[in-house]
Symmetry: C2
Subunit: 344 residues, 2 copies
C-alpha cells in the first residue's frame, strides 16, 4: 500500500475573510510517477496574497481553484524519483505544486534551483516571484530617477522590502509604510529605507506628508484601501503607479458584484491634470526581463545591498492559519511554510 501524504484543499469559497472551515486537510496516497514523470517532495510552500483571488470565482487573470481541489502555490521541491530525462533524483526544483507534501510533474514549468547561489527558500522569495515582481514593476513602470521619492506599503514584506531597496540602489528616496513599530524599525534600520510610517498611526497622512517633502514620484501599489487614499493627494505631476496588488480590498472586492463602476471622477481628473500613469501588471508580463533580474538580484544580495527576511510556519497543517494571517499582515517578512526538511 502506498505511503500516505497530506494536502490542503479548498473546502468552500470564502465570503469576505477566509476562515478555517474554508480549508480542509486531507490524506492521500503518495503517487507513483509514470512515463516521463517525476515525484516531487515539497520542502517550502510560498504563501502569497494572490491566492485569495484563486479562492473566488469571478474574472481575474487566472482560473480559480475548484472547490475540493488542492490549493495552488509556488513550492521548492526535491525530486525523489524521476522518469524524466531532464531531471535527476536529488535535484532541487522550483515548482507550482500547491499546498501538498508530494506531487507528480512532467517537468512543465519547473526550474532547477542551485543551492550554491543562495538558500533554496529564496527561489520563492527575494530571488523568485516576489523579488521579480518588485524588480520588474519598479524598473519597467515606476522608472525611479535619482532624487525622486518612491513609496511602497507592506514595506517589510516580500515585495515591498525589495521595492524600497532597489529604489535606494537606483538613487531614489525610499519611504515605506508598514504595520507597527517593530516592522517600521526593521524597514528603516535593517533595510535602509529613508523613512517608514506605521499605517496604524492616527496621523498617517501628516506623517507621510512629512516623510515626502517633495511629494511622491512613484507609488508602488500593492495594498490599496486607506493607504492609497493617503498617498493619492501627494502624487506629483508625472508620477508612475505600478499596480500589482490590492490586498486591503481583496476580501471585500470578492464579496461584491460590481459590474458597473461608479464614475470615479476624482481619480480620472488627477490622472489628467497631473498626467499620472497608472499601469497594472502581473509579473509574468515581464518574463523577458528574467535574465536581467537573475543577473542583478543575486549580485545585490551578495553585495549586501539587498536584505530579506523570512517568516516561517512549520508543517502543512499550519498553511491555512498562516495564509489567513498573511491577509491581515500578521507575517513579518516573506511568508513560507516548511512542508518537509531540506534533507531527509
Amino acid at each position: 500500500m502506498a505511503q500516505s501524504a497530506k494536502r490542503i484543499v479548498l473546502a468552500a469559497r470564502p465570503v469576505g475573510e477566509p476562515k478555517a472551515t474554508d480549508f480542509r486537510l486531507e490524506d492521500y496516497p503518495v503517487p507513483t510517477p509514470g512515463n516521463g514523470q517525476m515525484l516531487l517532495r515539497t520542502i517550502w510552500l510560498s504563501l502569497d496574497p494572490y491566492m485569495r483571488g484563486r479562492m473566488s470565482e469571478g474574472p481575474s487573470y487566472s482560473a480559480p481553484v475548484p472547490v475540493g481541489g488542492t490549493m495552488e502555490g509556488g513550492t521548492v521541491c526535491e525530486v525523489m524519483a524521476s522518469n524524466n530525462p531532464g531531471f535527476a533524483k536529488g535535484d532541487i526544483v522550483l515548482a507550482h505544486s500547491g499546498w501538498q507534501q508530494y506531487a507528480l510533474s512532467d517537468g512543465t514549468g519547473l526550474r532547477k534551483v542551485d543551492p550554491k547561489v543562495a538558500p533554496i527558500s529564496t527561489a520563492v522569495g527575494v530571488l523568485g516571484m516576489p523579488g521579480m515582481t518588485a524588480y520588474t514593476g519598479l524598473l519597467e513602470i515606476g522608472k525611479p530617477k535619482a532624487g525622486e521619492t518612491v513609496v511602497v506599503a507592506a514595506a517589510s514584506g516580500a515585495v515591498g522590502s525589495a521595492v524600497g531597496q532597489i529604489a535606494k540602489i537606483k538613487g531614489a528616496r525610499a519611504v515605506g509604510i508598514a504595520g507597527g513599530k517593530e516592522k517600521c524599525d526593521y524597514v528603516r534600520n535593517e533595510l535602509g529605507f529613508d523613512e517608514c510610517i506605521d499605517h496604524r498611526s492616527p496621523d498617517l497622512a501628516a506623517q507621510l506628508k512629512a516623510a515626502c517633502p517633495k511629494g511622491i514620484d512613484v507609488y508602488f501599489e500593492n495594498v490599496g484601501g486607506k493607504v492609497f487614499d493617503t498617498v493619492f493627494p501627494l502624487l506629483n505631476d508625472f508620477s508612475r503607479i505600478p499596480v500589482c496588488g490590492l490586498i486591503a480590498d481583496y476580501n471585500t472586492i470578492f464579496t461584491k458584484d460590481t459590474p458597473t463602476p461608479p464614475w470615479a471622477n476624482t481619480i480620472m481628473r488627477a490622472i489628467l491634470v497631473k498626467r499620472l500613469n497608472f499601469r497594472g501588471f502581473i509579473v509574468r508580463d515581464f518574463a523577458a526581463m528574467f535574465p536581467d533580474f537573475i543577473r542583478d538580484m543575486p549580485q545585490w544580495l551578495r553585495e549586501g545591498k539587498l536584505k530579506h527576511r523570512e517568516f516561517i510556519s512549520e508543517g502543512i497543517e499550519t498553511a491555512p492559519a498562516s495564509f489567513m494571517g498573511l491577509l491581515k499582515g500578521a507575517n513579518f517578512g516573506k511568508q513560507l511554510v516548511r512542508i518537509g526538511p531540506e534533507k531527509m
Copy 2:
C-alpha cells in the same frame, strides 16, 4: 484718439454650467506697439473645452483667468504693425491672444502660419493644438496596432475626428461616439470610421458592445461621465487609455471640492487585473513630436486621408454663447469664432 476694439472678459467665476453673465463684452482702445512689439489683429479665435478649467480656481495645469481678465484662447492673427525684427506687417501668426480683436505681442510663443499649406484656420484646428492632441495622445500612449479597436467620443469634434482617422490610417478599427444621427452619419460616411454610436441612445451599452465585438484596445478619453462608464467594462487586457479631457464632468468637477478621493476600488482592480494603462497628458508634454506631426498631418490632409469640419460663429460677441454651446455639444466640428476678415 485711439480706435476702439472689443474683448470678452471673465465677469464672474461660474458655478456649474457657465452662463451669459459670467462673461462681459468690453470696449478698449487698440493698443500701440512699443519697442520690439507688434500689433496683432485677430482673425480666428479657437474655442476649446479646456477653457472651462481656466474659468475656475483650483489645482490644474495652468493658472486661472483672473476675474476681470480677458478670456484666454488660441488665435490666428494678422500682424498689423511690427517693431519686431522677426515679424513683418502682413504676416499671419498663430498666437494665444485670447478673446479680443487686437493685442500686443513681443513675439514670444508666436508661430508663423503659411497660408499656402492649408486654410489658416486649420492652425488652431486639425493642424494645430487639437490635431496635435489627437496625434500625440493616440500614437504615444494609445499605440494602436493593426486590427485593434480604438474608441473615441466627441467623434465629430476637433480632436475625436482626427483620433479615429489616424487610427484608420494605422490599420485599426475606429469606433466613434457622437451626439445625434447627423453627427454619427458624418463620422461614418465622411470620416470613414467603422461605426459611430449615438450617446443619446437608450441602449448605448448594447450598441457599443455590438460595435466592438473584440472589445476595446484603446479608449481615447476626452469626455468622461456616462461614456466612460459604458466603455469601462469592454476594455481588453492591456488596453491603453490616454486621458486628455473630461468634458462631461467639467461643470460638476469645478463646483465641488473633493480633496480626499473615494477609494475607487473597481477602477483600481480593473487596472490590476486587466493590466490597463491609464495615462494623462497635455499636448505640450509631447512638444518634441511636433516635427513628426507637421510632416504627417498636412500630408494626410493632401492625400484626403484626413478630413475635418469647422463650426463657425461670427463676431466676438458670439464667443460666450458659442463656448457655452461647445460644453453641451452644440457644435458640429471644430468650434471657431471669426473675429475679423482674413483680408481687410
